[in-house]
């Protein structure tokens, strides 16, 4: 199955039991807006933890009807995060979402050795874009979390993302390892990593996907451009997942897709016990909503 747009994620969520999402430090307008909307759309069952008065004030002034929603009062930000995480680790919630709290504070708690959500896997960021000019949604990783992943990190990042795509219904997602060129160049580490990842995939050491690279961006997403260059690749022109060489490339690609190509985006953190919705403060309510949708689909 292939997702044509982010709305297709609803098909995955529909019919199943509603996942419980716990919003930590819930007194945040855009987060609350997205969570309430996802609740009304039957995508999730929210639990709000935070400053109860603050939460209620936001809901009143924005006309969010939260009648019947479970709210746990915890005015201290860190305590509310800890409480949210403990609900997840004790299986009272399926998804963790960040409200009005810094990402670093939340992640520090996620990685807490005693009560955090560690699995032994590397945490990585996974973003799913709906771009008008591409024939399906395209996943991009890692645009926000791992700064300069080495080969071992990249293997973990691919594994996280492939497991997620498998859950979204992609049995054999096509993974393009991005470079500036489509040849091996010893002076460009990304191209060497690409060669190694491709070989490990051939040898079944990275499973459930087809990896090829290095591919330059145009070869990865345009069959025409790959054919012009005479590239023989199962992935070229039909990429499901783009693996970034480092965070700078990833972050700029992410932002140029959003700002120049008017892409819609959903993003989550993978590698913890459950998907984590950790959108940035500048993300729109729509992006937060789509991310919640993605997290619900990904914890199927």
């Amino acid at each position: 199955m292939v997702l044509k747009n982010l709305n297709d994620l609803k098909r995955i969520v529909e019919g199943g039991p509603r996942k419980k999402l716990v919003l930590a430090a819930a007194q945040d307008q855009l987060s609350l807006g997205a969570v309430v909307r996802a609740w009304k759309d039957n995508i999730i069952e929210p639990i709000l933890i935070g400053d109860k008065e603050g939460i209620q004030n936001i809901c009143v002034s924005n006309n969010y009807d939260i009648t019947g929603l479970r709210i746990i009062h915890e005015p201290d930000t860190e305590m509310s995060v800890e409480m949210a995480i403990k609900m997840v680790s004790s299986k009272q919630a399926d998804i963790l979402m960040k409200g009005k709290v810094g990402s670093s504070t939340l992640l520090k708690c996620v990685l807490n050795k005693e009560w955090g959500l560690r699995t032994g896997n590397l945490l990585s960021h996974f973003a799913l874009f709906e771009v008008e000019t591409y024939h399906k949604v395209i996943a991009v990783t890692d645009v926000a979390m791992n700064i300069a992943p080495n080969l071992q990190d990249k293997i973990a990042i691919v594994n996280n993302s492939v497991a997620c795509l498998n859950k979204l219904g992609y049995t054999m997602p096509k993974v393009a390892v991005l470079g500036a060129v489509e040849m091996v160049n010893e002076n460009m580490e990304a191209t060497l990593h690409a060669a190694l990842l491709s070989k490990m995939n051939q040898r079944d050491q990275i499973k459930n996907c087809i990896i090829d690279g290095p591919l330059a961006f145009d070869n990865a997403v345009s069959l025409e451009s790959a054919q012009q260059k005479g590239i023989r690749s199962e992935v070229a022109g039909d990429t499901d997942l783009l693996l970034m060489p480092d965070i700078e490339v990833g972050n700029v690609l992410y932002k140029s897709l959003v700002f120049f190509a008017k892409a819609k985006v959903a993003s989550i953190i993978l590698g913890a016990l459950v998907p984590i919705v950790l959108t940035s403060r500048s993300d729109s309510e729509q992006a937060k909503f789509d991310s919640i949708l993605l997290s619900a689909a990904a914890c199927k």
């Binding site: 080969l151 071992q152 489509e182 040849m183 091996v184 010893e186 060497l192 690409a194 060669a195 190694l196 491709s198 070989k199 490990m200 051939q202 040898r203 050491q205 290095p214 023989r232």
Partner: protein
């Protein structure tokens, strides 16, 4: 034997030993080489007489020590009076020193000096090219790429248009503990991208997966080399060297080999090598000249 179009002139440095003279004589009689024997002329003539060989078949140049002999052999090749240089009774390191001399030697600019051998093994269904059993102890990525290029070039001279080259390791799995597997993955991708041409390449592969179809079936590994390798590229000199010696000792293998990276073919064989092996090397050098 392969059909050789023209006669080649071979300069032999320190040429007074029986095996060398015997091998050269055979090649001269077969008609594919002319020989210039450089060394103590009296001894060369004496050996010829003892072996019943007519010394007038050779051009003999007198040299009173092995250094002078190897310098003269290289000089002849350099100025075009010889097409091939061969090592006689002189030590390999002294001989290669003349070959590698920056001003007067035979090195191609920026070339990697390496060794390619071709083996005939009764229990294998075709010739098997191997590299490098003699020159580079621990080849890095660039050296491995050069080695592959030389071996492919040689296999193609033998009429194997698109040789299958197996990059040999202890297993077919990638592991960061085996640095060679990292180089191999990079090389395979380079072959995919056309950066290494005229071959089908895969690695890491162990020797079974490289040369034995049954192992492929048993292990279920998908590889384009498919147990039918033409070329084996080894991770180190110390793995390749015992491989060929083991085959010679225990499996009736025969080896012919050449130094690559030089302007003209250079024959370096161990002094203890048989006359037959030396003869094969001479024939091979004519093919590559």
């Amino acid at each position: 034997m392969l059909a050789l179009k023209k006669k080649h002139r071979i300069a032999v440095a320190w040429a007074q030993d029986t095996n060398t003279i015997g091998a050269i004589h055979k090649a001269v009689i077969k008609g594919f080489v002319e020989a210039v024997m450089i060394g103590k002329s009296a001894e060369i003539i004496k050996t010829c007489k003892a072996e019943g060989i007519d010394e007038k078949l050779f051009t003999i140049i007198d040299a009173d020590n092995e250094n002078k002999a190897s310098l003269e052999a290289v000089r002849l090749a350099k100025k075009g009076d010889a097409d091939i240089v061969m090592k006689g009774l002189i030590g390999t390191d002294k001989f290669l020193k003349s070959v590698m001399d920056k001003e007067n030697g035979l090195m191609l600019p920026n070339a990697v000096l390496s060794y390619v051998g071709v083996m005939e093994i009764p229990s294998y269904h075709k010739l098997l090219f191997i590299t490098d059993p003699a020159v580079i102890p621990f080849p890095d990525l660039d050296q491995k790429i050069a080695m592959a290029g030389y071996a492919i070039e040689m296999a193609r001279k033998f009429g194997v248009e698109k040789p299958k080259i197996a990059l040999i390791g202890a297993s077919e799995k990638m592991s960061r503990h085996f640095e060679n597997s990292v180089d191999y993955a990079i090389m395979c991708k380079m072959a995919d991208c056309g950066q290494i041409k005229n071959c089908v390449m895969d690695g890491p592969l162990d020797l079974f997966l490289a040369c034995d179809k049954k192992s492929i079936e048993i292990k279920g590994v998908e590889t384009p080399v498919n147990g039918d390798a033409d070329i084996l590229l080894f991770p180190s000199l110390e793995s390749c060297n015992p491989f060929y010696k083991g085959l010679m000792l225990f499996a009736n293998g025969e080896l012919a080999g050449l130094i690559r990276g030089t302007e003209k073919p250079v024959i370096v064989m161990s002094r203890s090598e048989s006359e037959k092996s030396k003869y094969f090397c001479i024939a091979l050098s004519c093919l590559m000249a």
